[in-house]
Symmetry: C2
Subunit: 299 residues, 2 copies
């Protein structure tokens, strides 16, 4: 089954202490869609400007994506520029040029309307709503967010939480949203806001799922070097949703393994700038790291 | 088999945003020894003053400890006072009164000299050396440390690393010791300094083992409330060593499970001030949380 992914499609200029890379393919939807593509077909919803390099469209196609939902609009592609500190734990935004995203409205092609699995990757929550407004209630909807929307569009986020099955956020966002210092207290409060599944990303510490079957502690793959963590969270969510859409059986039964797959795709993402490493990965390499994580957590 | 534990035996006055508790039983050896006592006999090495409350000696005895190595010296018991911030992640020391620890030298009773399992809990590294100097090479020696010793007694720590099998430290200490930002890079450098087993504590994120069989990602038990994390790291190391000393078979085979047991004892430690919660725990409760952690990490 294909997964519908909406989010930002962007060009990222990323500086780390070791290198600077201008105008790489980026954006939450790009990372999530490439991650999901390892497991099955992806319907991509986003917008790029007429400056968007053809090689990046080719890249999307090579990953088997349906691009009927990708609008190519007159104007400039969304451009983000950021810089990481030495330990890669903090980054600051140097520049945000919204370009075509200033006026973008995600209109779904008819062929996308019945998608069962929907990932609302990080993008303005009003646009996440707009996608759901066009669809019959999909089988499983997960939304991601970022601190910005909790600051400037909290009401939209809160309304969204009542319309989705799963919510993905990082631990500082969980604290910001709930005012709870204890992670598990914060998770309880987020459940009360709507979502049945709450997934808290903890970077190199992995992630925590809280769902109908209780908690799951999902490990991160040990990395000797983090080249660029941009998009790791999106890769995690995309890999998870791609795996879920492709798997047989209930979400409840598959979601733990889906998270581990997402975690592994995120580990590859961190090993290169932008999508440069992820796009060179083969499915067999992903399976091997999942197997390794089984061994690394067994006791 | 009994485990020999040396470290500080102290009175702790602990403030958190919710409460203040003066002069509780504390110190690295107290926490580690109580934790180890759930699994088998413990030989305690430390020193207290003549002001040390009899009820705390009774507490040690109730946990089946051999106190032949606990010196009761004229003077005051080591007293530490500290205060935690709201999220329990940072604490500051308000007061340190060394008392009898100013002149303490850990002399081992003859009955302790052939102990196979030795935990050098956090204490000045010169004293950790002094313990080893009195013994034939024990079968398995683990040392813990703290940032203070890396600052003021680095040479002693470096010499110690060549004499031990396992080294336990937290991630900021690993970075401090090696200058490596990447955790796995730091671990590699610590192996080169001597220890075959390196264990990095990561608080609520669990811990990482690096040993002859590769890495192990050890989970932390999810806690809805952390009342007082003082002694959690000592409880972890003590529980691990107690389990190892009691288990049949090789350290290599048992150490992962030993860490999970240590992690669970540490979780109880965090649920009460000082040792108040840990000392009320029954072995069956520990086994249940270990079982829960198996379920929480399975995928």
């Amino acid at each position: 089954m294909s997964v519908l992914i909406v989010g930002s499609t962007a060009l990222d200029s990323i500086k780390t202490p070791k290198a600077a890379n201008p105008r790489l393919l980026g954006g939450s939807a790009s990372h999530a869609a490439v991650a999901a593509s390892f497991f099955g077909p992806v319907n991509l919803v986003g917008a790029v400007g007429d400056d968007f390099p053809k090689r990046y469209l080719d890249l999307y196609r090579r990953h088997g994506m349906d691009l009927a939902g990708l609008q190519i609009l007159p104007g400039k592609t969304f451009h983000w520029s950021g810089e990481y500190e030495i330990n890669m734990n903090h980054r600051r935004t140097l520049l945000t040029e919204l370009g075509v995203f200033e006026t973008f409205t995600p209109t779904l092609p008819k062929s996308y309307l019945k998608s069962a699995f929907v990932l609302l990757a990080n993008i303005a929550p009003s646009l996440q709503h707009h996608v759901l407004n066009q669809m019959k209630r999909p089988r499983f909807v997960v939304a991601d967010t970022m601190d910005l929307w909790l600051n400037i569009a909290l009401e939209d986020v809160l309304r969204l939480l009542k319309r989705i099955d799963g919510f993905v956020l990082n631990d500082s966002e969980a604290h910001q949203l709930t005012g709870e210092d204890n992670l598990f207290g914060a998770i309880r409060k987020i459940h009360k806001l709507g979502p049945k599944y709450v997934i808290v990303k903890q970077g190199s510490h992995g992630s925590i799922l809280s769902g109908p079957r209780g908690f799951f502690i999902c490990p991160a793959y040990p990395l000797n070097e983090v080249t660029d963590p941009t998009g790791a969270g999106d890769s995690f969510a995309g890999g998870m949703m791609g795996y879920l859409a492709a798997a047989q059986g209930s979400v409840d039964r598959n979601i733990r393994r889906a998270m581990v797959y997402g975690s592994v795709v995120a580990s590859f993402c961190c090993e290169g700038f932008g999508l440069t490493r992820t796009t060179r990965v083969k499915r067999g390499q992903i399976d091997r790291r999942v197997k390794e994580l089984e061994e690394l957590t067994a006791f």
